[in-house]
């Protein structure tokens, strides 16, 4: 530790601490422009100049990068320093008169106007002030080393390699983040297939996924984290006091032995960009239901405010039902939840904005407890209901209106007329569809799918939670589109079924089984792949196949396929079936 005296105040700091830090400790403000905690001091703006007195010698140094020594005396606000700061600010002001950070700093330091003319006067509000923060952050933090200064003197500027867009740029946005003037902007040119943080607003690569996340800890998105791109940054690790950041953590596969499994794998949202007529992914301010849910979320990208891309509140919002569902080209089934969440959207938009709200529906299906009442309430709130599936969403011609808002075209089937409704924002009620990997899951658990692509229950009315495979249960949207109350009820029922077997401690199986007669099986392995319950194993040392009695359901698939007739369905032997046929034919 060394002791230094700053403006008469003595502070004890580590040797080599920059004066700026020591002054901070002493509670003394030193103006800075190019400085950032993120990277090593750069000392280019000279605004932090201070007087260092050592014995009889006095020197002007930059506080940000001058290391302190024992017994140093520092003046941060002497007449000479004030004069230097003013000159610097006047010079900056003469070149960038309209940049907010410059004029604010000038005002703070008592500079009202510049006495200097400038050869390179830049009137822009977001002009580059050559502070170099972007260059430093790109080099030191991101380690992408894309941005650099080029040319000298008044021609000096920040450039990308060869002045062109570079594929080495990882589009992390760090430069835009540190730019004090807003000169660097992040522009999303193509929303299609991008994550919500691109389409809705900024989200950091390290975040708590949702407020309800369990455990509620932040996770790193390795796809957008700078460290996983360049090996740089690691800012989170530097600031995390308990040192909980672990970049080496990987997805783990945990094997759990279980006698029963409840599948609640959920659903995927229909990709509305497949229906180009609605403009999702192509037109600004056309949102999917999940996007809009994020917008409405108080911890979401807009903090729960209903705003358009330009930050303004919409004057009107159109909510389009049945996007991809009740549609023979996509999903013929009804997704069940959309009517009600569309009403909820309308209610929340009505609550938070003054926008006019239009609902474009085929049929209103307010089927659940309290739902019809909610629908009536919404009608009282003044929502406009238009019965007719919207045909398309187009951009209103800029020439006529100039605001680039949207136009919904549809046939209003109640008045039998074609209508065009201008709106600022469109929300699509996307269909619920089976998970993209449902086929793989189905195979793992040897269960079936119904024609709509969701898991098939054992019986649609009497047994909606279990499947044809004993011990495998299904609940929620994995079984078919359903709302939260139905999902909770189904999952509860499945849990009760599971517990009842656990409590009993043993499993009953039906007597109808297939069995392989070892005497006749030659191990041709015809049956091995067929069993929908994976009950057939090939015994390598005996070179024959064998059926697991507990897994077998007696479906008979293998019995029919066995070319040696070595497999017999108990109770359905060939002899029995032929006798039945003969009996039938004898009549």
């Amino acid at each position: 530790m060394v002791t230094v005296k700053i403006d008469g105040i003595e502070v004890q700091v580590q040797e080599d601490t920059p004066i700026l830090k020591a002054a901070e400790k002493a509670g003394i403000w030193i103006p800075t422009m190019c400085h950032s905690e993120l990277f090593e001091p750069y000392g280019v703006c000279r605004l932090c100049s201070v007087e260092v007195i050592r014995g009889k010698r006095t020197r002007i140094v930059t506080a940000c990068n001058y290391p302190v020594r024992e017994g140093l005396t520092i003046q941060t606000n002497s007449a000479k320093i004030q004069w230097i700061r003013k000159i610097i600010m006047e010079l900056m002001l003469s070149r960038w008169p309209n940049v907010k950070v410059v004029s604010e700093m000038a005002a703070k330091l008592g500079v009202k106007e510049s006495r200097f003319p400038s050869l390179e006067r830049d009137e822009a509000e977001d002009a580059c002030i050559l502070c170099g923060r972007c260059v430093n952050v790109c080099r030191e933090v991101v380690q992408a080393e894309i941005l650099a200064f080029a040319h000298r003197g008044i021609k000096r500027e920040v450039v990308l390699p060869f002045g062109d867009q570079s594929n080495k740029c990882i589009v992390c946005g760090a430069c835009a983040h540190v730019c004090p003037t807003g000169h660097i902007k992040m522009v999303v040119e193509d929303y299609k297939g991008k994550k919500p943080e691109f389409t809705l607003g900024v989200k950091t690569p390290i975040s708590v996924p949702t407020l309800q996340a369990v455990p509620r800890v932040p996770v790193i998105d390795t796809e957008s984290c700078i460290y996983f791109e360049t090996g740089g940054c690691q800012t989170c690790a530097k600031v995390c006091e308990p040192q909980a950041i672990n970049y080496k953590m990987e997805d783990e596969i945990v094997e759990v032995e279980a006698g029963q499994v409840l599948l609640t794998t959920g659903y995927d949202l229909f990709d509305a960009s497949k229906l180009a007529q609605y403009g999702y992914g192509r037109l600004d301010n056309v949102y999917s239901s999940l996007d809009f849910e994020a917008i409405l979320n108080s911890t979401g990208p807009t903090g729960g405010k209903v705003v358009m891309k330009n930050g303004n509140e919409p004057r009107s919002v159109g909510i389009l039902h049945c996007i991809g569902s009740r549609d023979v080209e996509n999903h013929p089934y009804c997704s069940r939840v959309c009517c009600m969440y569309a009403l909820k959207f309308a209610h929340l938009v009505h609550d938070r904005t003054d926008a006019a709200i239009y609902q474009f529906y085929i049929d209103m299906r307010a089927f659940g407890k309290g739902y019809e009442e909610f629908y009536s309430r919404l009608l009282d709130e003044g929502i406009t209901m238009i019965r007719g599936k919207a045909a398309e969403v187009v951009e209103r011609s800029h020439g006529i209106n100039g605001d680039g808002s949207l136009l919904i075209r549809c046939e209003d089937t109640l008045i039998g007329k074609f209508r065009e409704i201008p709106v600022d924002m469109v929300v699509l009620c996307n269909a619920i569809e089976p998970r993209h990997d449902i086929e793989a899951i189905r195979r793992i658990f040897s269960i079936s799918k119904s024609p709509d692509g969701f898991f098939l229950e054992r019986h649609p009315k009497l047994d909606p939670t279990s499947t044809m495979s004993d011990g495998i249960y299904i609940a929620g949207c994995a079984q078919g589109p359903k709302d939260i109350p139905d999902t909770v009820a189904q999952a509860g029922s499945a849990a009760a079924r599971i517990l009842s077997i656990i409590a009993k401690g043993e499993v009953d199986i039906d007597p109808i089984r297939a069995f392989i007669d070892e005497k006749y099986c030659a191990g041709c392995r015809m049956c091995n792949n067929l069993c929908p319950y994976s009950a057939i194993d090939f015994i390598d040392d005996k070179k024959i196949s064998q059926i697991n009695d507990v897994l077998c359901k007696g479906c008979g698939t293998c019995v029919a396929a066995c070319p040696a007739s070595a497999i017999t369905g108990k109770g359905f032997s060939d002899a029995q079936i032929f006798a039945e046929l003969e009996g039938l034919l004898a009549i």
């Binding site: 007669d517 005497k519 006749y520 099986c521 030659a522 191990g523 041709c524 392995r525 015809m526 049956c527 091995n528 792949n529 067929l530 090939f538 070179k543 698939t557 029919a560 396929a561 066995c562 070319p563 040696a564 007739s565 070595a566 017999t568 060939d574 032929f578």
Partner: protein, 321 residues
């Protein structure tokens, strides 16, 4: 003690079964020593009348090969049945119809029309001349056997005691049967299949089998098959899985698929249907059009799956004789 009497007869067949008997090589001398051969038209000069004159049940063992295709085949079958203690349906034709029974896929009229009229090698100046059962000639009326509408296996015409499958039966299996009978051990129960085993051809096949999934069917000439891998796994239709074992997997060891000559395995009612059922289970596709495409690659399904078992199959037509 008199030697047991042995009869061999050749009905509708190619004669390969007779050759197979000779293929037991020098052991044929043991057969000649052990048996008194009383009837073997292909090798020695016997007349049907000689048989007619024998006492009933005087022949101890009769090996009858060939399907029953015409009235002469049937007459001899009945005759030998009457004269024999143990009558064996010998070889695939007698066992379950074999190649001659593929004629059951068409009609007698169509066969005669082709052979005596339409086939390119038939030259006739005065229209088609069809064979007649009775023809008046200057010397008197002559009679030839009548061809049947339907080819039958031996057991569809007479009562058969035992079966020896194969096209032809393998010599070592023939010798096993003869040796067994000569040993004087108690005879197996009536209706038994002799000279064969109870599993399927796969049991004897040395090739390595995997879980079956077939995306494309090949005919043997269309593919260079891996000699160590199951032919069916490679897409070559091999009847092995639906064929009784006993031949020693002769064909698959020679890199050719099993054709199914040893007939249906013990529990199988219809060999061809079983194979169709098995193959359709392992076609590797979920798309109906693709499945059709894959199945269309099978050339001549009936001739492939029922090559040897047509007469015994459950595919039947209304019988006409």
């Amino acid at each position: 003690m008199a030697k047991p009497k042995l009869a061999l007869y050749w009905a509708s067949s190619c004669g390969g079964c007779e050759i197979a008997v000779l293929d037991i090589q020098e052991k044929i001398l043991d057969v000649a020593n052990a048996f008194d051969i009383v009837f073997w038209p292909v090798a020695m000069d016997f007349k049907y009348d000689d048989v007619r004159k024998m006492e009933d049940k005087s022949i101890d063992l009769c090996l009858f090969n060939g399907a029953i295709r015409n009235s002469e085949n049937a007459e001899l079958a009945h005759l030998l049945r009457a004269k024999s203690k143990a009558l064996v349906a010998f070889g695939s034709c007698a066992h379950e119809g074999c190649i001659p029974a593929l004629a059951n896929l068409t009609t007698k009229d169509a066969i005669l029309k082709w052979v005596y009229k339409d086939s390119p090698s038939t030259v006739s100046n005065n229209g088609a001349v069809y064979p007649q059962t009775h023809t008046k000639m200057p010397e008197g009326e002559i009679e030839i056997p009548e061809m049947w509408e339907t080819v039958k296996s031996l057991d569809q015409v007479i009562d058969v005691d035992y079966y020896v499958p194969g096209c032809p039966p393998q010599p070592f299996q023939i010798w096993n049967v003869i040796e067994y009978i000569l040993s004087g051990k108690p005879l197996p129960p009536k209706g038994s299949v002799l000279g064969a085993d109870e599993k399927t051809c796969c049991d004897e096949c040395p090739r390595e089998r995997k879980e079956k999934k077939i995306k494309k069917f090949f005919r043997p000439y269309e593919i260079l098959s891996n000699p160590n891998e199951c032919l069916l796994d490679q897409g070559i239709i091999c009847m092995g899985p639906a064929t009784r074992s006993g031949c020693g997997a002769l064909c698959t060891k020679a890199n050719m698929p099993c054709r199914g000559c040893y007939g249906a395995p013990p529990n199988v009612v219809d060999q061809g249907a079983k194979m169709v059922s098995a193959l359709s289970s392992v076609v590797d596709s979920q798309d109906p059009n693709e499945i059709d495409e894959i199945l269309n690659q099978i050339v001549d399904p009936l001739g492939t799956f029922y090559r040897f078992s047509m007469a015994h199959s459950i595919l039947k037509r209304v019988d006409k004789i």
